[in-house]
């Protein structure tokens, strides 16, 4: 089982250099971070503390978007190469397949984002180490959360663009859904009021290793991780009814 899991990860990593999406994502990330850093440094009257807070929030959004950008093409390409049904003829199952993909893109996204974040926050903005540490931990779960949503969206469609819109909509709903909770009757109201992803991240930006926040991102990520498996199971071999 683990061998097939690691075979998928190795395959994903070998394919990455030939695909333009990761390079594009890293390029956009570096450019965006550089740009925001310059803007922050040019802003008069901004303290290091405020600048760090803005930088962390900026990285929060970047982590969500890059997780989505990295993970979505992976499933879409499997569909385009007609490999999805073909692989499932063999011993591999949906659990291994989806988990290996999410694992790969979670860690890839986390590694790139954390590296950039540590360089900018510690070396340029002189942020305290404990804040950088909690944020880096937070980015790991945030990467899992965004990659799971990206993979889930891509299992539902055959188009990268549609998947981006779908994943973006889900992310937005979870981020601002709490504001809309008043529109729903109880118990939906209570459930929706919990949907303030950014609020769950705020303690981490203050150097507090919030278990509640970490659990929020992990549990939502796990939910979409499981949904992706279910969707793939339902779709299995449906595309090959070629009468």
């Amino acid at each position: 089982m683990f061998e097939r899991f690691f075979a998928i990860i190795t395959k994903e990593l070998k394919i990455l250099p030939s695909s333009s999406i990761p390079q594009f994502t890293v390029g956009i990330l570096s450019f965006s971070v550089g740009l925001i850093s310059i803007l922050l440094m040019l802003s008069r009257g901004l303290t290091y503390e405020n600048a760090t807070a803005i930088l962390i929030h900026f990285f929060y959004i970047l982590t969500l978007f890059s997780g989505m950008f990295l993970s979505i093409p992976s499933i879409i390409y499997e569909k385009r190469y007609k490999m999805l049904d073909f692989l499932f003829i063999h011993s591999i199952n949906e659990y291994e397949f989806i988990s290996a993909k999410i694992f790969t893109y979670t860690f890839l996204n986390w590694f790139v984002l954390s590296l950039l974040f540590v360089v900018y926050s510690l070396l340029i903005f002189k942020a305290p180490f404990y804040i950088v540490f909690t944020c880096v931990i937070g980015f790991l779960f945030l990467s899992y959360y965004s990659s799971s949503i990206g993979i889930f969206a891509s299992t539902l469609t055959n188009s990268i663009t549609t998947s981006f819109f779908l994943a973006g909509f889900i992310l937005l709903l979870i981020d601002i859904g709490g504001f809309l909770s008043g529109l729903f009757p109880s118990p939906a109201k209570e459930i929706f009021s919990y949907f303030h992803a950014i609020n769950q991240f705020i303690p981490l930006t203050k150097g507090i290793l919030s278990i509640k926040g970490i659990f929020f991102f992990f549990s939502v990520g796990l939910f979409f991780h499981y949904l992706s498996i279910v969707v793939l199971q339902l779709q299995k071999f449906k595309g090959i009814k070629d009468l």
Partner: protein
């Protein structure tokens, strides 16, 4: 002839009210190349997918060496995919190219070996064997996307022989190939038949006649004619007659 290696009895596949296969009977003998010939939509791919363990049949029986491999009376449709595949090793070449263009031939075959659960100690030997048999030695470290269609087909065929399958199923193995590539793939199929039993589908009459030992003509989901080796030279007339074209 001796007893068949694989025997299919009264195999049917229904998609709702539409009948894709209607109680077909097929016998496959060891080291034979058997062709399924039919018009588009005749049910060739459906039949091959059932035998590959991709699609569950609606009813029928499949025997391996006279021992029951599948019976619609005993196995629920949902269990077909796992139960059938656990009893027989099959190599399958899909109709459309299914490859990772960004992997090299060697990496792709190695990946497929892991996915097919080929034991670790056999992998290097099987990798070399598959590459040698399909004459891909020169290109084994080349990215698949840089290969011609003929070599991409060879790479796909190379993955079908991993795990030493009892039956190799080739769905339209020569579609889209130029004449030279067709001859090369035909020779390759004949070579593979020395060690495996091969079932292939095609709608190209001349090709089937030249590659196969026996041919089943499939029309509207039914086997309408079985053509023996001696009759293959008249395949065109037999096909026209059988399908009423």
């Amino acid at each position: 002839m001796s007893r068949p290696l694989i025997e299919i009895k009264n195999l049917s596949k229904h998609y709702g009210t539409k009948i894709a296969l209607d109680k077909i009977n097929i016998k496959l003998y060891k080291n034979e190349v058997v062709g399924l010939l039919g018009l588009n939509g005749a049910g060739k791919s459906t039949c091959l997918k059932i035998l590959a363990g991709i699609l569950p049949p609606t009813e029928g029986e499949i025997y391996l060496n006279n021992e029951i491999l599948y019976s619609s009376n005993d196995i629920k449709t949902n269990d077909y995919l796992t139960q059938y595949k656990s009893k027989i090793a099959i190599g399958y070449l899909p109709e459309f190219i299914s490859l990772y263009p960004e992997l090299t031939i060697k990496d792709f075959i190695h990946f497929m070996m892991v996915i097919k659960d080929v034991p670790k100690h056999l992998r290097e030997e099987q990798l070399q064997n598959a590459i040698k048999k399909t004459h891909l030695e020169e290109y084994q470290d080349t990215l698949i996307k840089y290969l011609s269609l003929g070599y991409q087909k060879r790479t796909e065929i190379a993955q079908t022989i991993l795990g030493n399958p009892t039956l190799i199923i080739l769905d339209e193995p020569i579609s889209g190939l130029d004449p030279r590539q067709i001859i090369e793939i035909r020779n390759l199929i004949r070579e593979l038949a020395k060690e495996h039993t091969i079932l292939l589908s095609s709608h190209i009459l001349s090709e089937v006649a030249q590659t196969c030992d026996r041919v089943y003509i499939l029309h509207s989901g039914k086997i309408v004619k079985e053509v023996e080796k001696g009759q293959l030279s008249q395949i065109e007339n037999i096909f026209m007659e059988a399908t009423n074209v």
